[in-house]
Amino acid sequence: MKSKRLLAPYVAWMTVFTLIPLGVVIYYAFTDSITGQFTFANLSNLSTYLPIFLRSIFLSLASAAICLVIGYPVAYTIAQANPKWQRFLSMLVMLPMCMSFLLRTLAWVAMLEDTGIINRVVSSLGLKPLPLIRNSGAVILGMVYNYLPYMITPLYTVIMKIDPRLIEAAQDLGCDHKRVFTKVILPLSVPGIISGITMVFVPAVSTFYISQKLGSTGTTMIGDVIESQFKTAYNPNLGAALSLVMMILIFICIGFMNRFTDSEEEGVVTP
């Protein structure tokens, strides 16, 4: 009885400000922007946005994969350090997450621009300026940079908790370094890998600032389209339909990835 009374305000809050808004999104997705009548038009128009959806998924999966390849050795190295260094280094990983991602992305623009810092160095060496910005590569770089901490943190948490006795046992039983890694450490870090990929993929697939600043019209992402429907094109109904589809897509992706782990209810998408 007592616990229910403590839960009530929270459940009420989340129902009003999480569940009902999702209902409102569905309502808008199925109504006409001018007449307010029920319609499928918003959703049937979505086929024109299919290339943008596919591009968003491709770019964010690529970023998540790169984050994993870069993040794993870093997380592993941090987990191997002594406790003092571990605390300090994991703090250094998290610190950038607290700073304005808008300005940090802008700093990348300043570096990659045609007249930016890198190209000034390149041209001072007498070489031609490199096309570093306004392409998919720059967008992926921006996403990897911004979301790398979201990959390292869960990986580090999982690797740190691996029982060192398991590694010793594997060594005693004749595994060399490589096999200890592939047979013991890597399988045990799967929950961290899944959670890291999810935590990079979800914000990456829905981003709208990074692609605007580092990309071009050829790298428009689904987040850009949603943002413009609400802020410049004033068609919230189409925006709601796009959000709905993106949300369903992400839930499918997460459900698919969670199949790889037998996680508990609160195991996976937590930082």
Binding site: K2, V25, P271
Partner: protein, 271 residues
């Protein structure tokens, strides 16, 4: 291999901190182009303090994040205690509710709340409902899961006999909570509050959709700035905020370190 990992980790950390360095250097630049360093000056910092507009925005951000994270901590801690004492269907339903804002991308959370608010606005015939209150509600909503997910593990780790002992010794359930349980879970409550606070302070995506022109926070204004040429005093503000957060995190780190050492000593005595 170990050496390679270490060198690689250092390189990744440099990668993570390059934009900070670029922005910090830009804050001392006499020129306005971020890519060309013309000369050293401190005048950007003087301008920042002379012109109150940016500081007023920072104050708005602080008001929202302190209020939102405080309310979310109270509500969330209550909910976590309730959740800890409940089992079965109710528990899994509430956990699912908690996971929705965690798995939903920020843009969907922002858009769905914006639609809810404008829907309510048209129902109530209020013209511009978006402002301080909608922003506060949105921030509390996305902060709540962070608080719950950092308090819940502490409750699970707590010795269940402690509460019973307090009750046996004549505490009312309320006294048992404030004198015993709260004391035990305090580290989780504090880290939940800190996490909520930093999330709130730096949030751009959700705030961007749910606030109007009547109440603007710093990240939203930075986004508006980045469409025009950006004024270097923003770099000065960024650098100062970076230093403040760095000092705060190092201080927390040292405290945690002392705490860990103390625990280790205790364990040593017991053994």
């Amino acid at each position: 291999m170990k050496k390679f990992c270490r060198v690689f980790t250092v390189l990744v950390f440099i990668f993570l901190y390059i934009p900070m360095i670029v922005l910090a250097v830009a804050s001392f630049n006499t020129g306005t182009d971020i890519a060309v360093f013309k000369g050293f000056t401190l005048s950007r910092y003087a301008e920042l303090f002379r012109d109150g507009s940016l500081l007023a925005l920072l104050r708005n951000s602080l008001i929202i994040s302190v209020l939102a994270s405080f309310i979310a901590t109270v509500l969330g801690t209550m909910a976590a205690v309730g959740l800890h004492n409940s089992r079965g269907r109710l528990r899994s339903a509430v956990m699912t509710l908690t996971n929705i804002p965690m798995t939903n991308p920020d843009i969907v959370t922002g858009v769905s709340l914006a639609l809810l608010f404008s829907f309510t606005g048209t129902l109530l015939k209020v013209k511009s409902i978006l402002g301080f209150w909608t922003l506060l509600i949105a921030h509390i909503t996305f902060n709540l899961p962070y608080v719950i997910l950092s308090v819940l593990p502490k409750l699970t780790q707590m010795d269940p006999d402690l509460e019973e002992a307090a009750l046996d010794l004549g505490c009312t359930p309320g006294q048992a909570f404030f004198k015993v349980i709260l004391h035990e879970i305090m580290p989780g409550v504090i880290s939940g509050f800190m996490m909520a606070f930093t999330m709130s302070l730096d949030d751009f995506v959700i705030s961007y959709f749910v606030t109007g022109s009547s109440f603007i926070t710093l990240p939203v204004e930075i986004y508006n700035y980045t469409k025009k040429p950006i004024h270097p005093k923003i770099y000065a503000l960024f650098t100062l905020m970076f230093l403040v957060i760095l000092v705060m995190m190092v201080a927390m780190n040292l405290l945690q370190g002392k705490d860990a050492e103390r625990k280790q000593k205790k364990r040593g005595v017991r053994a």
